[in-house]
């Protein structure tokens, strides 16, 4: 009982702290935080797959689907409610993941990675070649409303940020529960030995299928928020393979030791990119690459392993 209460307080504390941060930081930083948290959602999905030994190079498929779902439903169906559109984008991306997952869940290693990338590039190709979907230019996204309320200016920015924080904390809680469940705890088991998992009476394909769906839905939610925050969507920014690569980059940077890692890693990534672009506009990719190299060299299990080391100092003899 006490543990549950403490856990609840911790989650509420995280929610309050993140919400407060949006008020304290300057406008550009709040925008950056919104983007970072949205992308953190995608990386949270990658964390689920990563723990099972799977790397997806195609999360941009669901990220882009989420963004375009918001754009299209806003443009053609006249919807503008951010809560509703985010929910629809999330469910839609989950359904898309359920479809492609039928095939993806049967592949492993490099084949899983490449097949997921192939699916995302199919969407990219469709978007680029279709005028109705904005082709290479993309299109603007409707200004969001919140349950009938239509904020403007700074209030809109804050509302988008608050909704993002609420969604991220909710998603993080859900993923935490999932990772602690039997299905979540089967992830390292599947990574280690699929044969034994089958001989425990569990379908490996089914477990991976569910993971693909969850990761897809999270990426869809991230795409929807990004579309609202940026106000514009186009194929290069939403579905190109480099976008998927960026998510994998952040996963390596973050590590998979905690559900907080994807968000922290994503924030760090956006900060490095922002400052690198500002102070070194022609070599910012080199700065990003060097950062990743340093992380791999000194923290091979990602940024989060630093926290683990601080919390659990190495025992003598180990």
């Amino acid at each position: 009982m006490m543990a549950t209460l403490l856990s609840l307080l911790r989650w509420l504390g995280a929610l309050a702290a993140m919400a407060l941060l949006g008020w304290l930081v300057p406008e550009w930083a709040a925008f950056l935080l919104t983007l970072a948290l949205a992308k953190g959602l995608v990386v949270l999905g990658l964390l689920i797959l990563w723990r099972t030994g799977l790397v997806s190079f195609g999360q941009a498929l669901f990220f882009g689907f989420g963004g375009y779902a918001v754009g299209l439903l806003g443009g053609y169906a006249g919807l503008s409610d951010m809560v509703l559109l985010t929910a629809l984008a999330t469910v839609g991306a989950g359904l898309l993941a359920a479809l492609v997952g039928l095939l993806l869940a049967r592949y492993r290693d490099i084949f899983f990675a490449m097949l997921s990338m192939a699916f995302s590039m199919i969407l990219y190709g469709i978007l680029v070649k279709t005028e109705l979907l904005g082709s290479t230019d993309g299109f603007n996204v409707v200004q969001p409303t919140f349950l009938g309320y239509a904020p403007q200016g700074d209030t809109l920015r804050v509302m988008i940020y608050l909704w993002t924080v609420l969604l991220c904390v909710g998603a993080a809680y859900g993923v935490q529960r999932y990772l602690e469940s039997t299905m979540g705890q089967l992830a390292p088991a599947i990574r280690d030995n699929e044969l034994r998992v089958e001989y425990l009476g569990v379908s490996v394909v089914r477990i991976i299928y569910v993971k693909v769906i969850i990761a897809g839905a999270l990426a869809g939610a991230g795409g929807a928020i990004t579309a609202f925050a940026v106000g514009h969507i186009d194929p290069d920014a939403m579905t190109y393979w480099t976008v998927s690569g960026e998510f994998v980059f952040v996963t390596i940077l973050s590590g998979t030791g905690s559900i907080a890692a994807p968000f922290l890693g994503s924030i760090l990534f956006e900060l490095i990119r922002t400052y690198a672009t500002q102070y070194s506009p022609y070599t910012w990719q080199m700065v990003l690459g060097s950062s990743l190299l340093l992380i791999i060299l000194f923290l091979p299990n990602g940024l989060w392993s630093l926290f683990d080391r601080l919390r659990r100092p190495a025992r003598p003899g180990l």
């Binding site: 529960r177 999932y178 602690e180 469940s181 039997t182 299905m183 979540g184 705890q185 089967l186 390292p188 088991a189 990574r191 280690d192 030995n193 044969l195 034994r196 998992v197 089958e198 001989y199 425990l200 009476g201 569990v202 379908s203 089914r206 477990i207 569910v210």
Partner: protein, 261 residues
């Protein structure tokens, strides 16, 4: 009705016949030792019964139901479990977590995605297994760091998490030192006896076969040469020539290897 039965079970790999019309009938609570030289078809037989290999011909009946076409997962769910010659365990997590995962998998046909794995009754059950298989010293160690004998015990304990009616053990003492063999078999058989499970174990050590088996099946070139009580089978002239002779050569070779090492 026999608990497990095979009818003309055959497996061919190209021109090689690994199992040739094997007819076996196994009753509840039997403890059957399977002997035979390498390549005699013992593991092929176990692999077919547990769904890993599909027979080329013949059928497998479990409690009267034809299970020939079932997958390993379906066979496990029916109540036939197995351990492996090379222990199939989860290397990156602790021994205790291996057991927890096995117990939860046994309990949940579709693994739960919301309820925590670490529930009181599963923790208690895992702790009970740790005690029964004498694994307390290794409870929280990562499996990759454990000795082979401990992994063997864990492999068997995980298979038993399903509370099967039949368990097939593929060389439970292989890769284990001569000194440890009997100790491991005592622990395993003691734990299995408590549950009343039907046991079929592949073994090369005739002393272990004699001591723990209530029945012995001797395999030669994919067929069963002899089947009956250990005293009869192990005294059989053909078995002594084709199976035990080979085993003696084998064990002498390995002893020589050990003394040279």
């Amino acid at each position: 009705m026999p608990l497990l039965e095979t009818r003309d079970l055959t497996k061919t790999f190209g021109h090689v016949t690994a199992a040739d019309r094997i007819n076996v009938s196994i009753a509840e609570r039997e403890v059957i030792g399977v002997i035979g030289a390498n390549g005699a078809g013992k593991t092929t037989f176990v692999n077919m019964v547990t769904g890993y290999l599909k027979p080329s011909a013949g059928s497998i009946l479990y409690q009267g139901e034809d299970i020939t076409a079932l997958t390993p997962r379906q066979v496990t769910r029916r109540g036939i479990c197995r351990s492996f010659q090379v222990p199939q365990v989860f290397m990156s997590i602790s021994l205790f977590d291996n057991l927890l995962v096995a117990l939860a998998a046994a309990e949940q046909v579709h693994p739960n995605f919301w309820r925590p794995l670490r529930q009181r009754h599963l923790l208690d059950a895992a702790q009970e297994i740790v005690a029964r298989y004498d694994l307390g010293a290794y409870r929280d160690q990562q499996v990759a760091l454990l000795p082979q004998g401990v992994r063997k015990l864990l492999d068997i304990a995980m298979a038993m998490a399903h509370r099967p009616r039949v368990i097939l053990l593929d060389e439970p003492t292989s890769g284990v030192s001569v000194q440890e063999k009997f100790g491991i078999m005592e622990v395993v058989m003691g734990a299995l006896r408590e549950t009343g499970v039907t046991v079929l174990f592949i073994e090369h050590d005739m002393e272990i076969i004699e001591r723990f088996g209530s029945r012995v099946m001797a395999f030669v070139e994919g067929s069963i040469l002899a089947d009956g009580p250990p005293s009869h089978v192990l005294a059989d002239e053909q078995v002594r020539r084709h199976v035990i002779g080979e085993e003696l050569h084998r064990s002498r070779r390995s002893e020589r290897g050990a003394s040279h090492a």
